[in-house]
């Protein structure tokens, strides 16, 4: 049975960007736990495991919303540092040169060009309009809502859905 965290039970301090030094209010303390989303695709703010150096979970945050404001911000900053799944705002160019798809997109982290090797397996539409994309180097991207893309971007991505 994992140890679940609900509400104010711990104090977190950022350690080296992605780690959390964790002090439980009952006096236990752990150094450099790595917060890990259990559902990085389907539920980003729920079930965040805190792993020790061995990869064993010390505790699981059941829901980020139950943490006090300050602790939530601390965990969030560690997660933001660790997880990188840029949100695609629009597609700028898709070229199909020599059978390689090079997609250029504007994301929340800037403009980037990536290679899609097989657009049948690289693009995964979900039912809620979200689209997940995995490039040839296994980097991941996300379109938060494909229906909200501008007309030009939509036209470019639609055949791959």
């Amino acid at each position: 049975m994992p140890r679940y965290l609900d509400g104010p039970e711990v104090r977190f301090t950022i350690n080296d960007g992605i780690f959390l030094d964790t002090e439980f209010f009952n006096g236990e303390s752990y150094e450099a736990l790595e917060p890990h989303r259990m559902f990085p695709v389907s539920g980003k703010d729920r079930y965040i495991a805190l792993l020790d150096a061995e990869g064993k979970d010390v505790a699981i945050i059941r829901n980020m919303a139950t943490l006090p404001e300050k602790e939530r911000a601390t965990v969030q900053s560690a997660l933001d540092e660790y997880y990188m799944m840029p949100k695609i705002k629009r597609f700028i160019k898709m070229s199909d040169k020599f059978g390689i798809w090079m997609w250029t997109a504007e994301t929340d982290r800037g403009i980037f060009t990536f290679e899609i090797r097989n657009h049948l397996t690289a693009v995964k539409p979900l039912y809620d309009g979200r689209v997940l994309i995995k490039d040839a180097d296994d980097n991941r991207y996300e379109i938060p809502d494909v229906n909200k893309l501008d007309k030009k971007s939509k036209k470019m991505i639609m055949p791959s859905l």
């Binding site: 080296d16 960007g17 992605i18 990085p40 990869g55 933001d80 540092e81 660790y82 997880y83 990188m84 799944m85 840029p86 040169k97 020599f98 059978g99 390689i100 994301t107 982290r109 800037g110 403009i111 980037f112 990536f114 097989n118 049948l120 397996t121 040839a136 180097d137 296994d138 980097n139 991941r140 639609m158 055949p159 791959s160 859905l161």
Partner: protein, 755 residues
Amino acid sequence: MNVITNHPIPEKFRVLAETVMKGQTPLFALVGDLDLSGRYNDSVMFFTRDTIFAFDEKHREKYIAVKIEALREVHVKRMYGNALFKAVTVDNKRLNLLRFTYSAADIGDAAALYVNGVIEHGFNDDLVEMVHATYNKQRSFCPRCGRKLPNPEAECINCASKKNLFSKFTRYIVPQKWKLLLCVILSIITTIMSLVPPYITRIMVDDVIPSASQGVEIAMQRLISVLVTLICVYIVQYTVSALRGYILRYTGDQIVINLKKDIYAKAQYLPLSFYDKTSTGSVINRVNSDTGTIQNFVLRISQEAVVKFFLLIGLAVIMFSMDWKLTLFSFVPIPLVILTGKFFGTRIAPKYRRLWRKSSAISTLLADTIPGVRVVKAFTNEKETTDKFSRYCDDWMKEDRKAAVTANIFPNIMTFLVTCGSVIIYAVGGSQIITGSGDLTLGMLVSFVSYASMFYDPVNFFANLSDSYQNTLASAEKILDILDAEPEHDFGKGKVPERLQGRIEFRNVNFSFDRSKKVLSNINLVIEPGDIVGIVGTTGSGKSTLINLIMRYYDNYEGDILIDGINIKDIDMSYYRSQIGFVQQDPQMFRDTVFNNIAYGTPNAHVEQVMYAAEVANAHPFITKLPDAYDTMLGERGVGLSGGERQRVSIARAVMKNPNILIFDEATAAVDSETEHLIQAAIERLIRGRTTLMIAHRLSTLRKANKIIVVDKGEIIEFGPPEELLAKKGKYYKLVQIQSMSDKLISQKQAENFE
């Protein structure tokens, strides 16, 4: 600055780098694609003999220079979708030097290896060489298109295929060229025949019917002779057309069957990594339906297109010779027809592609759940599965409906435009006859309209060709995905040693399925011939992956695996695998007899050989009890045999090969203890004198092992004879303790119950 790098050095750091490094030439550079805050940006790191220079806008002064001697270690921290090059200084300060996406992560690993090497042993040229080798491997791009190649010598499949997508398919067509040519000739005959009736109509209207004025008898005679000609023409036309249809269908079948055979054969040779990424359902779909689309298209191009082209020319000539003005009028709708066709093409293509995806999703679900029907039933998941299926079907229908709208509106618009052409001819020609201007006769007008309507058909065909071309392109893409995929290498090439002794050596082997997580790291071990090696470790520790690498299911690992001192990548693949007996945890049976299932992989096996193998595997006793004995037909995936029985059949299969290396992957994991004894006895009989690797959860099955490998998180943490490991009181000792404790508990409980 000329330096080995994974990408061109970013312009914005070039000048700064040159001043900072004061003319030192770095050994190599690592170009990142993120800045330290995780936004896409330029960044770069230079490595010299003693210093690392990291350039990033987020560094104070835009760069940081670190002496390697001031560092304790460096490592690449792989996170989600990105990685950090981190350093720890001697006084325990942590530094983030560079950030990059997975695209540069492999290079980053090599760079870290270099720095750690310098920290540990001081600078030497071997380290630089190692880094350069990694860079060269990464830089095996196709010189034409820049595409990354699986290995430096590989031919770029994209450049080869994109030169002309359909040239790939010509080798299926060329063997049929004479039959196809015959069909073309026959088609030309039918086409010419089809041009005759309108001409006869003209004779009827203009000559025969008016000749009644010269006497009924003459007129009737003329009528009969014209009609007989007409009948003869029809007989020739339809006989030839039937013959042509037969040859064409037969030829088409040959083309598509050859294509299917090739795709299937190719699918068998594809590496497992292909199947990790592609669902089997979509492969089945490609073999079944996409080949049909190709067939249709090939026939359209090689037959109809040729015939329609001649028809078009022929009609144009006839029409112009009849009345050139009228002909020009009838051409009026043609530009519109073509434009509409083009527009239609661009609208329908994406729809077909989406449609393909949806139908492939349905086949995937089928391939998943129908064979897994036992699990579905066990979890009473019938409704969920049915719902999912109907949802997929509805999705497909929605897409198909959209496609149907486009696919039906446009052709009808075109037909309407064509009809407008006839109306124009009637208007112009009719008014000419009524007013008596020009020399057009009624018969000529009637036959002209017939010719004109025939004329639009090939025009329509060529305009519509883009539609079927697009549809075919989608299918061809799918098929080429298989036909062009890199197969497993080295079948029928490479060394064939006389006999494998069975000495297995791993040298610095690292492996990951994708770039996100290392599955095996730094594996070094030597297994001597005749060793019986137990591999233990928790689930997911990498035991099976170790075996997968020995089996060469995955080839893209770093480091070397050697058998008898030969790199396994240099050994002929089919010879190599034939030397290894592999008994899997869940043995796969085929829908065939027990005999054939045992003899699988050994063609022309002698009956007694098979029975001997069954005997060794302890399978013979239960097989003889079956009513049909060795002729017992197994259902799909071995329905009709129990798990233990299937396991023994699969051991018999391994015996048949008489391999020098044996691998058991949890062979007794899923059977009761009595069966386990039978299997265990079979295994012990089999392994004598052969190098044997056994993965086992139950340590009791490893009592014959003379060496134990303990795998943990992708690393070998212990390796040696079991007694030694027990004496060391490490992980193996702990595992034995835990298991013997639970065994003791069980026997205690049993003893209590018996009292």
